[in-house]
């Protein structure tokens, strides 16, 4: 059976096509779907596209920013108001991949990819999706937990609140090959400070579980404290709690568990 490409003017029509066809995949930048097709993934028989301008919109003027699902990493990097997202955007692929790869697609990128999603998870983003039952907003954590069941829905946009300062949001990708390697571990931390104390810390990890996850034990170790050496050490020692990394060519599960605390400590203490 040949592969059919269906192109729709609106996102809602595309979402309809996705939800009615189990073998349909949405094509954003193609860095995942075209690779799968070229490598002989016969589970995909229909490729769905949408020309909807709304999917490529960036709203970065206010305290809450919204990125259309079709926004590429290259566009994020070109947007001065999105400086806090430049580090995660730059950490993805090479220029060619960043020119094509999209925010929406990154939400579905399997380990060792999906680095931008780690940043979004730390920032407590909201994912707007359109399914068979209409549009709705889902917290990113909930979205990721049910990611395998999201195949029939179309992601429209992602939004999050801008961190209060550049210190409040930190991101680091550990890769063996720079600048283009897959992730050994990816870390992002949102550390809002209120009266000298951390309030509502969120730490997100990539490549430490089948999907991006939060390091809740480390977050608890930070909560209500100032970011001093003892706090950082406590968070670092709790970093691997609740994680379930696996072995791949870039690193073993054991190695990831061993080093995640080291890198979290460096991230929190601002060490290069």
């Amino acid at each position: 059976m040949a592969v059919t490409v269906k192109t729709f003017p609106s996102a809602s029509e595309a979402a309809g096509a996705l939800s009615s066809d189990r073998s349909a995949r949405y094509l954003g930048g193609g860095t995942l779907v075209m690779r799968a097709l070229n490598e002989g993934d016969i589970s995909i028989s229909t490729v769905v596209r949408a020309l909807d301008q709304a999917l490529t919109r960036i709203d970065a003027s206010g305290p809450r920013i919204t990125l259309g699902a079709g926004v590429t990493f290259a566009r994020v990097l070109a947007e001065r108001d999105l400086a806090f997202l430049h580090a995660p955007a730059r950490s993805i692929g090479g220029p060619a991949v960043r020119n094509m790869g999209t925010i929406g697609g990154n939400l579905f990128a399997p380990t060792p990819y999906g680095d931008f999603t780690v940043a979004l998870l730390a920032l407590d983003a909201t994912v707007a999706v359109q399914g068979g039952f209409g549009a709705r907003d889902i917290p990113i954590e909930e979205f990721l937990q049910a990611r395998d069941r999201q195949a029939g829905t179309l992601v429209l946009s992602v939004s999050c609140t801008r961190p209060a300062s550049s210190e409040a949001f930190r991101y680091r990708k550990i890769a063996r090959i720079k600048p283009k390697g897959g992730s050994v571990i990816t870390l992002a931390a949102h550390l809002p400070i209120s009266g000298g104390r951390i309030a509502s810390a969120r730490i997100a990890l990539g490549s430490m579980a089948p999907t991006q996850i939060r390091a809740r034990a480390a977050e608890r170790a930070l909560e209500g404290r100032s970011l001093d050496a003892a706090t950082v050490a406590a968070a670092a020692s709790a970093a691997s709690e609740g994680t379930s990394p696996s072995d791949n060519a870039l690193g073993s599960a054991w190695y990831r568990r061993e080093i995640v605390g080291v890198h979290l400590r460096r991230l929190l203490s601002g060490q290069e």
């Binding site: 059976m1 040949a2 592969v3 690779r35 070229n38 490598e39 002989g40 016969i42």
Partner: protein, 531 residues
């Protein structure tokens, strides 16, 4: 940036070179930078079919049954090719130069020996239809114990990977299970050395990762010939390999290659051409067979992994007096070029140094891993990495500067090399001197004055008395000062896993006791030449 140091060895060179030292435009550069170079895959022929292979999911298994009934009925399938359809379904690459036994089928028949080994080829109207048919092929495997470690493969009772070589080692000169180098008495020298350092070095397989994956397009031509567009980096080699596998004269083929989208040794194995041509023969249509990226990375042959043990004896004054090496080349499940790599390696020992006692055992071992092949200096690169790491460690051990330590031990013109040839045109000393100068690395005056053309030969040209293995009782571990260097316990003494019976004659490359020059060099490398 290019600087030619013509002051060095100036009297040995006519300074009339036409190319070296001059900026020369590569002839293919304009096409490459303008994106107009044509590669094999740019040929889209009318009615072209696409070939894909079903690969083994098992590292080592007997094939009980192959069921292709559903695949044959799959849409767009033109032909299913089995091992029985391949005219000569057993080959080894270097059989063209009479080196090694045929050991690898184009399509596995009764057994698979590595994960990813091709079993069935499917020719279909589109790649997609070929992939869909592949999903419908059912193969019933009986898994066999697999071996992935070179030393495990040599242990008694190890699974036999490849029945052509039942000892899991390549056979040299129809007799020997490894390459052997003996020069002087390394064990005696180790026993009296001031320091002994033994280290283990383990390499990884390395994929060439070409931009263009391996592939070929074969099309029927007039007069019963076939035109083949191919990515091969060894065109005439590929022609003859295809002629052998398909059992036709080589003038049946018109191979067109030349533009290789990245080779580095990864495109000499002629993996795609025979099946593409066979597909064209069986369907009468042009057939394209190109590796996907995952196929290239996972099943394309890599640089082989080597395990190397080096045990060196060094005196307090910095002279290396003995070097004992055991190396295991992981050939994977079949012989591609690792057999030759082991020969190159043995010929390279002990590196560019004059060491009076050298002992080398180099094994080409079969395991249930992806067959390994050529890659940039294979056979020598890994050994050089190990040797140079070792040289740094030895220098540290005796408290010498590593650059000066190399100059002290470097071979010089007139020295006798371990494989009993006189060293000529040596230049390591000058290389180290220039490297030190460029790096602003201080060398003491006597080392700055050293020359490859001075102080060589004489007693350094003598071939030392060399005990044969059979004349020597198994040496007991000599008592001596040992120095632990890093994490590895250096005192672990490993011996070759399989000592040849005493009746085996002395070293595999018998040479006259005096330096001989001339015509025997090539045949001494490729052992099965008539000797």
């Amino acid at each position: 940036m290019l600087e030619l140091r013509k002051d060095i060895f100036a009297d040995e060179r006519d300074d009339n070179l036409n190319e070296i030292g001059k900026g020369t435009q590569r002839q293919d550069m304009l096409g490459h930078v303008t994106g107009t170079s044509s590669f094999f895959n740019d040929h889209k022929l009318q009615g072209m079919l696409h070939l894909k292979v079903v690969r083994s999911t098992q590292a080592h298994a007997r094939i009980r049954r192959i069921d292709t009934t559903e695949a044959e009925r799959s849409a767009g399938v033109r032909r299913i090719i089995r091992g029985a359809d391949v005219p000569v379904n057993l080959n080894t690459l270097l059989s063209l130069i009479n080196f090694g036994k045929d050991d690898e089928p184009s399509l596995a028949v009764d057994k698979v020996r590595y994960k990813g080994e091709p079993i069935i080829a499917i020719v279909a109207d589109s790649e997609r239809e070929a992939f869909e048919a592949i999903a419908k092929v059912k193969i019933d495997y009986e898994p066999l114990p697999a071996v992935f470690d070179v030393e495990d493969a040599l242990k008694p009772g190890a699974p036999v990977v490849n029945e052509t070589y039942p000892k899991n080692t390549f056979t040299y000169h129809e007799t020997y299970d490894h390459q052997r180098l003996r020069f002087g008495d390394a064990d005696a020298a180790l026993a009296t050395a001031d320091h002994v350092l033994e280290q283990r070095y383990q390499m990884s397989p390395i994929e060439h990762a070409p931009t263009e994956t391996n592939g070929a397009i074969a099309a029927p031509d007039t007069n019963g010939r076939y035109v083949v567009y191919t990515s091969t980096q060894a065109l005439f080699f590929s022609v003859d390999t295809c002629a052998k596998i398909l059992d036709v004269p080589s003038n049946t083929f018109h191979f067109i290659g030349g533009t290789v989208g990245g080779g580095f040794g990864g495109k000499v194995d002629t993996l795609t051409e025979p099946l593409a041509i066979l597909g064209a023969m069986l369907t009468g249509r042009p057939v394209r067979y190109m590796f996907g990226r995952e196929e290239e990375m996972q099943y394309g042959p890599p640089r082989g992994a080597e395990r190397i043990y080096i045990k060196d004896g060094v005196m307090r004054d910095g002279r290396v007096v003995a070097r004992k090496i055991r190396a295991y080349f992981d050939s994977g499940a079949y012989t591609r070029l690792s057999s030759y790599a082991a020969v190159k390696c043995a010929a390279h020992l002990p590196g560019p140094y004059t060491i009076p006692n050298v002992y080398g055992d180099v094994y080409c071992v079969f395991t249930n891993r992806t067959p390994a092949t050529a890659m940039r200096g294979f056979g020598v690169t890994a050994m050089d990495f190990a040797i140079e790491c070792q040289m740094d460690k030895l220098a540290h051990l005796v408290g010498m500067d590593p650059m000066e330590f190399r100059i002290l031990n470097a071979y010089r013109d007139g020295d006798m090399k371990a494989h009993r040839r006189e060293a000529k045109n040596t230049a390591l000393i000058e290389c180290v001197q220039v490297a030190a100068e460029k790096a602003k690395w201080p060398l003491r005056e006597e080392f700055k004055r050293a020359s490859s053309r001075k102080d060589g030969g004489g007693s350094r040209a003598v071939i030392p008395p060399t005990p044969t293995d059979s004349s020597r009782a198994r040496s007991t571990n000599p008592v001596q000062q040992r120095t632990s260097y890093d994490r590895l316990p250096p005192t672990v003494t490993r011996e070759p896993p399989r000592e040849p019976p005493p009746t085996v004659p002395p070293p595999p490359s018998p040479r006259p006791a005096a330096p001989s020059h001339g015509a025997t060099r090539f045949s001494s490398v490729f052992g099965t030449r008539r000797r």
